[in-house]
Symmetry: D2
Subunit: 271 residues, 4 copies
């Protein structure tokens, strides 16, 4: 690659390099797989994602897991930041892309974006062999919360069903669930602190992706690090939630809801 | 609904109305279907989309068709407007959401956004029983092109494989393909004018969605009109292409490409 | 230009054409005006905008009017769609650009975007010499409202101060205010229908921009049409409101407000 | 404030707090200043920005400096990332807001976003009394470049005029230019390394804003830290460049440029 790039750079120093697909031949391909093969073979959306994001084919249990994540993260009601902004924009009469985008832009550290953070933390701690209490208290000393732990509404006795479903699937089909087990042991410790400090859906996906990446045999250790450090996993949440955001935008258009204006009496004007 | 809304409005005139999902109970639901049912039953991403966008379950051949559209529209190379803008934004070192969004915003009348237009035009013409030449020449007299017809690169002898694959699927599994047949007869006429005036992927999806909506028995005539006039179908392209745009953004980060600057010599500075 | 473009096109069919500025020489220029001249001469932000958007110098009263519009439209409280979405995004912990953008995307037909519509309608009606009642009732027959007329809160006896201030300025400094007078005569008629059908700030800016464009002597009739049909004037609202949206985003960060979640009890969940 | 907020929170835990403006009274106000006062008094856009962002009136030399920054950063040609993406989106036939936004999203660490970084670094180093070589070499040891230093095109003998103009203004009107002097001494050192390691416009604005904030007497030391750590200064670049991005989008619409497609031959397809 390096050499090819350099060769290319000599020819035209401002060009673009692209490695995931090719649209020049008879048929477009996704990392070498033609459209015909995609449709006639046993491919699904998870496989398309594996080709375009990870540049490889992944085993069936892995692409099915990706699809499960997409399904479970597709929506979480009209009240969360993303759905709310998409609803407001739709009620302002804007086109579908603007509605979607206005909601997507709220995804980040506090909303949905904890998957990569959780993966990063769990990986580092588990690889180091840090005991859960040391891990949690270590973060606390730095003034940080454990990403992927805690839920505003869910609690020990009112588990997030999505977490359970993913957990069961992985235990059944994954070659190993070392990182999930670590996350669960962290949850055990935090549940001792407060009942709502459960492993949330971000934390669960983060841990299970680590298991998928490291136990599937399809990624080198260096590649796993790259995936985690670049932040592919938030991409998964973003893609999944797009389904819900578009759904909410369409919903408002169907209902012909008028322009939203936040109620004056719900605002504290101060200085 | 009307009454319920009114009742609600009395209580709180600035509230929000939402009809596609519920996140308040034991388990979140998508139009009444619980997460557990989604995962343990035979549901896929197409079904999630059907629930959140169309507010109903659709037959297997229909949700599979939706998934095929998502797969075939996921990417079309690094040169198209959307991928290009995502690449530029990724090379500016921005977060994944910003990269995706910058590309999505190019989707519209000229790029990918012709699905709804095509559906609208084919529906009106076909329902009226307009002969293809009259339809095409009628649009021409208004100074308009037929949406869903024409491709910069593909032509009569170099068909877009994606169109063929969708066509074959529909002919095999759809109860009826009246609108597709109409679109094909339009293509026959336009191919007489120029070799690149083929039915493109937008036109094909537009026509087939009309067939799906009107032959599945799941939608009333009024509901079909609503879907077409609100513009659900572009939503499909937007969701599909998000997979590719995220793929391109990740690709540039992996390659550690530097800031893009369009070459001066490729710009005509004039006044 | 045409010839130059063609000449250019021959050389490189995919190039870019740009006519508003030049960054290749000793100093960047805005439509031929160097940075040094901008700073040492008597230029302001209104002049920069005139150069980059309208490609010409405009008289002082005109650029001062543009600056007044920017000042008066900079903000309108935290409750309107744009500010609200920026606030929600800021509370999600996102970067400043994402916050701004999430709010900007609500600007359109129902929020702030009526300036161009108003200008379009007032121009057509006034140029045709349509009497105000005929104009208003004509739109009504088409099921349309008069753009630039009506305010949720302001009314006959509680005028929008911003409208008054712009009106006074124009009467003092503009060579002619024919379109404004027309808009006022429309308002007189609509106020007979309901007390809140006042000329709003969008309508007032729309009408006065028509006066500015057509009485300044700087634009041909064809150029005025182009400005109105392309929609420059919404650009003005967009730029102005960016000041307020950034202000709101910074405000939330300063206050360290937590993630926003719309209250469940304010949502009507129905189907 | 704290108490008021708490009081408010008790009443309605999900409300919004807002401190920069008020739209409830007879006239909207920006941090207490009415629209009438804005227009009849000697206020400009810089003053509006000071009220809505900094929540205070600033002396004339300061708001004039803010306006100069807005003017000088309004545009930098069609080739930079932001203008390029806005041009591509405009050529895709999208509305003005989408065009602007698609360009804005490229602003960040590598494009235009260095103002805050530069301010942060210069402040820390200068406050500590670090000698320029120690500062530069210290960053180098951490593998970091000095933000605000270096330009692709400009160099020692081909200075960026914008930097010079800002520098001259500050030396004439600012009470003190301690941080600028520090930045210049850093530049002296880096110019010894390479001719293009000049103080760039980001670095210059960053340093001068530090001087403005700390010498105007309007901000406490804690407030200066807050401004720098929250990142107000990038907001300035974002607002300024919006003028240019809208200009570029309008330009393409006026030229009726067709859909942009990046040339195949400028892309290195590899794997
Ligand atoms: C859910 C959440 C907001 C907690 O809300 P809360 O119950 O109001 O919690 P508080 O902020 O009052 O904190 C209560 C205690 O729990 C601790 N705590 C909260 N979240 C914690 C976490 N993730 N890890 C460790 N400790 C945590 C707090 O430090 C505090 O401890 P203290 O009393 O010793 O100071 C928080 O856990 C969180 O932000 N979690 C991450 C959420 C996430 O991943 N979101 C993505 C969802 S889609
Ligand atoms: C592809 C396309 C740009 C044609 O490119 P082109 O070969 O350069 O075509 P030209 O613009 O030179 O037009 C050549 C002739 O074909 C006609 N033509 C082009 N597209 C046409 C259409 N969609 N319907 C009817 N006539 C069409 C033109 O009117 C012109 O006729 P004329 O010679 O009588 O004036 C055009 O067909 C198009 O925009 N199609 C829609 C593309 C679409 O759906 N895009 C989404 C893709 S993801
Ligand atoms: C402000 C506004 C929402 C009116 O709110 P409202 O008082 O609730 O008005 P309603 O929708 O109940 O309409 C009451 C009557 O006024 C009429 N009306 C409302 N706005 C009208 C307009 N702009 N032109 C003509 N008639 C109008 C309605 O048609 C209705 O008439 P009817 O009783 O004969 O059917 C509406 O005038 C409007 O949308 N105006 C444009 C706002 C605009 O420019 N916004 C930008 C602001 S930044
Ligand atoms: C302009 C820039 C890209 C340099 O381009 P370049 O001439 O190609 O420089 P290179 O990357 O080849 O680096 C050459 C040397 O200068 C050094 N260097 C470059 N920029 C430096 C900086 N800002 N501070 C310190 N050293 C720097 C490099 O480390 C390298 O040193 P080495 O030879 O000892 O390894 C770079 O200076 C930069 O990114 N500056 C910040 C730009 C900025 O603020 N942009 C906003 C503009 S709107």
């Amino acid at each position: 690659l390096e050499a090819a790039t350099k060769a290319g750079k000599v020819r035209a120093p401002t060009h673009v390099v692209s490695t995931i697909c090719d649209d020049r031949g008879e048929e477009p391909t996704y990392y070498g797989v033609t459209m015909s093969e995609l449709i006639t073979g046993d491919y699904g959306i998870g496989d398309v994602l594996a080709l375009l994001w990870f540049k490889r084919k992944l085993p069936k249990y892995a692409t099915k897991f990706i699809e499960m994540c997409l399904m479970l993260c597709a929506d979480h009601g009209p009240c969360v930041s993303g759905a709310h902004n998409s609803i407001v924009t739709s009620r302002a009469g804007k086109d579908l892309v603007s509605c979607l985008v206005s909601g997507l832009l709220t995804i980040g550290p506090r909303f949905g974006g904890a998957i990569d953070d959780a993966a990063r933390c769990f990986k580092e701690a588990c690889d180091k062999g840090l005991a859960p209490p040391d891990f949690v208290e270590g973060l606390k000393r730095q003034g940080k919360r454990v990403p992927g732990i805690g839920h505003r509404i869910k609690s020990k006795d009112n588990r997030d069903k999505r977490v359970e479903l993913l957990q069961n699937y992985a235990e059944k089909f994954f070659p190993a669930t070392r990182y999930l087990q670590y996350a669960v042991s962290v949850e055990e410790y935090t549940l001792g602190k407060a009942a709502n400090l459960v492993l949330n859906v971000d934390g669960c996906i983060g841990a299970l992706f680590l298991d998928l990446l490291s136990s599937s045999g399809a990624f080198s250790a260096k590649e796993v690090d790259e995936v985690i450090s670049i932040g592919y996993l938030n991409g998964l949440f973003v893609l999944a939630r797009s389904i819900g955001l578009i759904g909410h935008a369409l919903d408002q258009k169907r209902l012909q809801e008028p322009l939203y204006r936040h109620p004056w009496e719900d605002v504290l004007y101060t200085s």
